[in-house]
């Protein structure tokens, strides 16, 4: 009876995941979809705890409830308090925790196997002369352990990269070969452990020894680090999305282990959806998944090679001139980038937009697919400061409009407006679709300094004769601009 109700609660959970995820694909139903998924998850979790039929000591219930209570409080507060600019880091962190959870499950399950199941099997083996390790069971355990650990250590590195602690891609010489060797070693060791049963008997005591699993754990953790470390910051969203689908896969292996359908559906769903999302993201940046993982990007050598070709000079513009220019424009397009978000200038840019609209200037925002740190990140940031949804125009739709645009104001964006992506085949970002701001009549770039963008390369746009630099911290500079405009 209880078992049937539990199965039904898992069925409900699985359906809500599918429906919820589907609804999240549409802006109108997205929020509800997320809540439906959360409700299904709650049902599945409560079912697992309360519909359990075995006898369980109070201590264990206490620990479970303690962990859930603590996790809920910390998770809730962190998610509520985090600044929207820091969101990609947070998603990465939560993803890593899911991976670590999957790895821990495998470790405990293996520990259990070593001390209860293995001795029985070994005894049987001694009687009959044949030892049959449970291959499927071990494969599910070790695969969950390896994938979960890779996801965990990879996510931690992604987190450190996104928050700037580790902002240079670090490359060992021949890192691709080293990575491949570590990966093959991990997989090979996994296969051996599955084949031979994963446990050795210590002689002469004949005690089962399961410590080899820690070697597998160490290899997987090492691979997660090596895998993520050489990847440049600009490609981090792709990596997080990929690690996200890894964790899904790890959860699915947990589902195999327990023949648990809700873990299977949830895990596989995220695994396949996450992989597709990763590919779609790569497409938006015109990069193949292979070149993200194995290729060089955002390194220093490419920047040095490019700098020599840059000719011309950079001119800057004063706030009063800029205010006049904007005031008498018909159409202004704002190109927001991560720099805008870092300077917390979303609100002041909205004020600028309202002020210009009041004066009869048409204002739009051009959103590059990877503006911010993740696809759609910029939309979230601008929506937070009440910018109307229909003012945000996607790249394909805004590009033809630049020719009729009087002023393009680029705030804190760099690589997504770099014409080198179209003109210079030697550039590392060559081929990436960009916002064609160089077609506009005037280009104003707000930057704190002349430093290179996230991809670490020089921007030819700044040397364009139509381009003027408006130096300063985005928030401070825009506040001055708004003040100047108000006096007119």
């Amino acid at each position: 009876m209880q078992q049937s109700i539990l199965e039904i609660s898992y069925l409900i959970g699985s359906i809500t995941f599918i429906v919820g995820l589907k609804m999240m694909g549409n802006a109108k139903t997205a929020r509800k979809g997320n809540l439906i998924g959360a409700a299904g998850m709650t049902i599945a979790i409560l079912g697992t705890i309360f519909l359990n039929e075995g006898k369980v000591s109070g201590l264990i219930y206490g620990l479970i409830f303690g962990a859930i209570a603590l996790g809920t409080i910390i998770g809730w507060l962190t998610a509520k308090k985090v600044q929207m600019t820091k969101m990609p880091e947070l998603v990465s962190m939560f993803n890593g925790m899911g991976g670590a959870c999957a790895a821990l499950i495998s470790l405990i399950e293996f520990n259990h196997y070593v001390h209860t199941e293995f001795p029985k099997l070994a005894f049987l083996g001694m009687m009959t002369g044949e030892f049959h390790p449970p291959h499927g069971f071990l494969l599910a355990i070790f695969a969950g352990l390896v994938i979960g650990s890779i996801s965990f250590s990879g996510s931690v590195i992604a987190y450190l990269k996104l928050n700037g602690t580790m902002n240079k891609p670090l490359r060992l010489p021949a890192y691709n070969i080293i990575n491949l060797i570590v990966l093959l070693a991990t997989l090979g060791f996994l296969a051996l452990m599955v084949y031979y049963g994963g446990v050795k008997l210590d002689r002469p005591t004949m005690m089962p020894n399961g410590s080899m699993v820690y070697i597998l754990l160490a290899l997987a953790l090492l691979y997660g680090v090596l895998f993520t470390v050489p990847i440049g910051g600009a490609d981090m969203p792709v990596v997080i999305s990929l690690l996200n689908s890894f964790t899904g896969l790890a959860a699915a292996f947990g589902g195999f282990l327990y023949d648990n359908k809700v873990m299977l559906t949830g895990g596989i769903l995220v695994g396949s959806a996450g992989t597709l999302l990763t590919v779609v993201m790569c497409k938006a940046m015109n990069r193949s998944l292979g070149s993200v993982i194995f290729g060089a990007f955002g390194g220093g050598s490419a920047a040095a090679g490019n700098a020599a070709e840059v000719t011309g000079s950079i001119k800057d513009i004063q706030v009063s001139d800029l205010a006049v220019m904007m005031n008498y424009s018909k159409k202004v397009v704002i190109v927001p980038g991560y720099g805008l978000a870092v300077a917390q200038a979303q609100h002041i840019i909205h004020e600028l937009e309202l002020l210009l609209e009041e004066r009869g200037v048409e204002v739009k925002y051009a959103i590059h697919p990877v503006a911010g740190r993740m696809p759609g990140h910029m939309n979230v940031l601008l929506a937070e400061s009440n910018v109307s949804y229909d003012k945000l125009v996607e790249m394909e739709d805004i590009n033809p409009e630049f020719e009729q645009t009087d002023v393009v104001l680029v705030v804190g964006a760099n690589d997504v407006v770099n014409p080198a992506a179209k003109t210079d085949p030697s550039s590392p970002i060559y081929g990436m679709p960009i916002l064609e701001v160089d077609k506009a009549k005037n280009i104003i770039v707000n930057k704190r300094s002349m430093s290179a963008g996230y991809a670490g390369i020089d921007n030819l746009l700044f040397y364009d004769p139509k381009c003027s630099m408006f130096f300063g911290d985005a928030k401070k500079a825009l506040t001055e601009l708004v003040a100047e405009l108000k006096t007119m």
Partner: protein, 101 residues
């Protein structure tokens, strides 16, 4: 060879299940606008937190005298909860902003 065939035939329901789930996953994401990629990734991130069910499951059958397993199990449930709760709450925060026009 025979072993592999045996494996497939004994696990055929599971294999159907996996293959169909993969297609559902691909279908569900198809045609999503770029704008929603980040919330979607975050939502999917919360959903793989379902691994917490496994953590609870393993905890329920841990031997009380096995301190190592108790500690690791506690950690697993804690991390799983963080993944689930944090994931759903941060996704809701992102999507909340899309709603008000």
């Amino acid at each position: 060879m025979e072993q592999i065939l045996n494996f497939i035939s004994t696990n055929r329901e599971m294999i159907y299940f996996v293959v169909l789930s993969i297609f559902v996953g691909v279908e569900v994401i198809g045609g999503v606008p770029t704008v929603l990629h980040t919330p979607l990734m975050s939502g999917a991130n919360a959903i793989h937190g379902v691994v917490i069910v496994g953590a609870i499951y393993v905890m329920l059958k841990v031997d009380v005298s096995n301190t190592l397993a108790l500690v690791l199990g506690f950690l697993a449930v804690l991390l799983g909860t963080l993944n689930v709760v944090g994931g759903f709450v941060v996704t809701d925060r992102m999507l909340e902003m899309f709603k008000k026009k």
